[in-house]
C-alpha cells in the first residue's frame, strides 16, 4: 500500500484503494441507489410544485369532504419522504455499512502498518 503516488498522503496509496474492485463495487452500489433516488424525489417534488402553480383547478378538486387532490398530493410528499428515508436506511445498513467497515479497517490497518497512525 505504500507505493508512492504523486502526492501520496502518508503511506496509504488512496488511488490504489480507490481503484480496487471492492471500493469500486461499494461506490457503484451507493451511487446506483442515491442518484436515481435523488432524481425521483426531485422530479416528484417538481411535479408537485408545477401542479400547484399551473393546475390549481385540478389541485382544488375535492375528493371527499374538503379533502382536495392538492392536499393528498401534498401529504403524498410527506409519505414519499418517509418511505425514501426508510428505504435508504435499510439499503445502507444492508449493503453499505458492512463493506465500508471492511474497507475502512483495511485502510486504517495500512496506516498503522506503516507506522503512520496508531501506534
Amino acid at each position: 500500500m505504500s507505493s508512492p503516488s504523486p502526492r501520496s498522503t502518508g503511506s496509504i496509496d488512496y488511488e490504489q484503494v480507490q481503484a480496487s474492485p471492492e471500493f469500486q463495487e461499494l461506490r457503484g452500489r451507493l451511487r446506483r441507489f442515491v442518484f436515481p433516488m435523488t432524481a425521483i424525489f426531485l422530479t416528484w417534488y417538481l411535479v408537485y410544485v408545477g401542479l400547484a402553480s399551473y393546475a390549481p383547478g385540478f389541485m382544488s378538486f375535492q375528493v371527499f369532504g374538503t379533502i382536495t387532490v392538492g392536499l393528498l398530493v401534498g401529504l403524498g410528499q410527506f409519505v414519499s419522504t418517509f418511505v425514501i428515508t426508510t428505504l435508504y436506511v435499510r439499503f445502507a445498513e444492508r449493503e453499505i455499512d458492512g463493506p465500508a467497515a471492511e474497507l475502512r479497517e483495511r485502510v486504517e490497518a495500512g496506516m498503522a502498518g506503516n507506522g503512520e497512525v496508531r501506534a
Binding site: R7, Y14, S53, P56
Partner: protein, 648 residues
Amino acid sequence: MTADVVLARADEVGSVAANLGFFLLFVIVTLMIVLRVSRTNATRADYYTGGHAFTGPQNGTAIAGDFLSAASFLGIAGAIALYGYDGFLYSIGFLVGWLMALLLVAELLRNTGRFTMGDVLAFRMRQRPVRAAAATSTLIVSLFYLIAQMAGAGGLISLLLQIPADDRFGQAMVIVVVGGLMVVYVLFGGMKGTTWVQIIKAGLLLTGSAVLTAWVLGRFGFDLSAVMARATENSEHGEAVLGPGLQYVNKVDFISLGLALVLGTAGLPHILMRFYTVPSAKEARRSVVWAIWLIGTFYLFTLVLGYGAMALLPPGTITRENQNDAAPLLAYELGGEIMLGLIAAVAFATILAVVAGLTITASASFAHDVYAGILRRGKASPDSEVRVARATALGIGLIAIAGGIIANGQNVAFLVALAFAVAASANLPTILFSLFWKRFNTTGALCSIYGGVLICVSLIVVSPAVSGSPTSMLPDSDFAVFPLSNPGLVSIPASFLLGIVGTLLGGRSDAARYAEMEVRSLTGAGAVRATTAPAPPPRPRAVSATSVGAIPTYNGSDDARPRHTSAAAGPTAGAGSGPARSTRRAGDLFGGSGAAGAGPLPDAPEPVAQDTHRPANGAGRHRPVAPPENPNELTIPHGSLFDPGPDR
C-alpha cells in the same frame, strides 16, 4: 368567546405574568444545563462540536431544534391560517429538502470534515482561498438568517409582553435581551450547551404543537375534513383556501421559491455543522433520519394548527400584519392564558435555540477558517482559536442585535428565503461537486461560491421583494428590474454552471487527493471520532513536524498535553516548500492542490500533522508515539492543521 374583542387586538392577549413566567422557567432551566455542560467544555472539539460525542437520536432532535425556526412554527401556521393551502407549500419544501441531505450530503460530509464546511472544501483544494470563500458564504447566510430571527423575535415577544407596536424602544430592549441570552448560551455552553438548548426546545415545540393539534382535532371529532370545512366557512376566501393560488400569484416565482427551499436545506451552514457533532457517518445518518421524522411530524401538526386557527378564531382575526400570531392566538382560544403562556415560552425557546445555533456556526467558521486557516495560516493554537470563536460570537451577537433592531418590522420570511436561496446557490453546488466530481478544482469552487452569492444577492436587491411593490421593503422606490422575488430559479443553476465552467478553465485537479477524499468519505477511514474527555497521557512534547518549517506552535503551556502540538505545527513554509506538510493539509494551505502544482510534497513523509499522532513526517520520526487516545486527532485530514487537541 368574550375574547373576541381582545383577540382582534392581538397585542393585548393573555397575561404578561404567565407568558413571562414560563419563559423565565425555560431560561433558568436551560442556563443551568448550559453551565453544567460547560464544565466539560475543555477542548476546541468540545466547543465546536461537543466533542463529536452526541448520539444520532440526540443530534437528530437537536437538528430539528436548529432547523424549526420561528418561521416554521409561527410563519407556516400563520400562512396556512391566512391563505390556506399555499402555506402548506413551504412545509413541503422544507421537509423534502432533507432527502438531499440524507442521500447525498450528511454521511460523506461527516467523514471528510472536522468542524466547518471549509474543512471539506479544503480537503482537496487550495486551502486559503476556499476557506475564505466558505467562510464568506457561511457568514452571509448565517447573518441573514440570524437577523431575520431577531427581527421576528422583537415582534413576537413584544406581542407576548404586550409592548405596543409603536414602542420601538421597548421592542429594541426585547431584542437586546434575546441577543444577550443567545450570546451567553454560546459563550458558556459552546456546542454542547447549544445542542442541549436545541434538544429541549425541540421537545417543547413538538409537545406543545402536538397538544394543540390534538385539541383542535378533538373539537371536530378527529376529522380533519371537518376542521377544513369549518375553516372554509370562517374564511373570507371560502373554498379557495383548500387549493393553491391565494398567496402566490406569480407562478414562476413560486417555482423559484420551491427550488430554493428544497435545495437550500442541504446547504445551510448551521445544519451542516451539526453533522460533526456525532461520532460517525452512521450516526450522522441516524440523526438525519430522526430529524426527518420529527420535522415531518411537526409540519403535519402545523397543517392542523393553521386550518384550526382559521376555523376556530373569529373571522378576520388573522391578517397579513399579524399572521405570525396565529399559533399563539389559537393556543389562547383553546386553553386560555396558561396555554398561551406555554406556547409563548415555546416560541421564545424556538428563537433562542435557532439563533444560538447560527451564532456558533458563524463564529466557528470565522475562527476556524478565517482566523486559524487564513490569517494565521494554520498556526493558531486551538486555544487561541476558541478564544477568537468566543470573541466572534460576541461580535456576531452585537451585529445581530443591531440588525434585528433595524430590520424590526421588515418582512421576516423574505430574509429567511434569502438565506435559503444563498445557501442553495453558494454552498450546495460546491459541496456536491467536491464530493462527487473528480475534476472539480479550486477555480470551480471559487466561481461557484462567489458567483452564487453575488448573483443571488444582486438579484434580490433588484427584485420586487426590495422595491417597487407595496409589500416590498422599500415601497417608495422602484428599481426592481428582476421580476422574481426569489432568485433561486436563476441563481442556483447559474452557480452550478459557474462551478463547471470554472473547473474547466482552472488547472487540473489533484487525482490523489480526490482518491483520498473519496475513499475516506465512503469508508470513514481516518474520520474524526468522538472525543471523550480525554485525559491525556503525558507525552513528551512532540515536536511537530519536523520537517521543515514546522513550528511547534505550541506554546509553553502545553505541558500536559502534548498533543496539541502537532496541531499547531504548521508548516510554515511557503508553499511547496514544506515538504512534509503533509500532504493533505499542506496542500490545503498552500494550495496547490487544485492546481497542478502543488505538490511537491515528497511523498514520503507522512502527513504531518494530522493532528495527531500521525507522525509527523516520517513516521514517527520524532514523536514518540503514544497511543493516541484521542482518535480524533489521529486522522483527520485537513483540519489537521490546527488540530484539535484538547485545547485547554
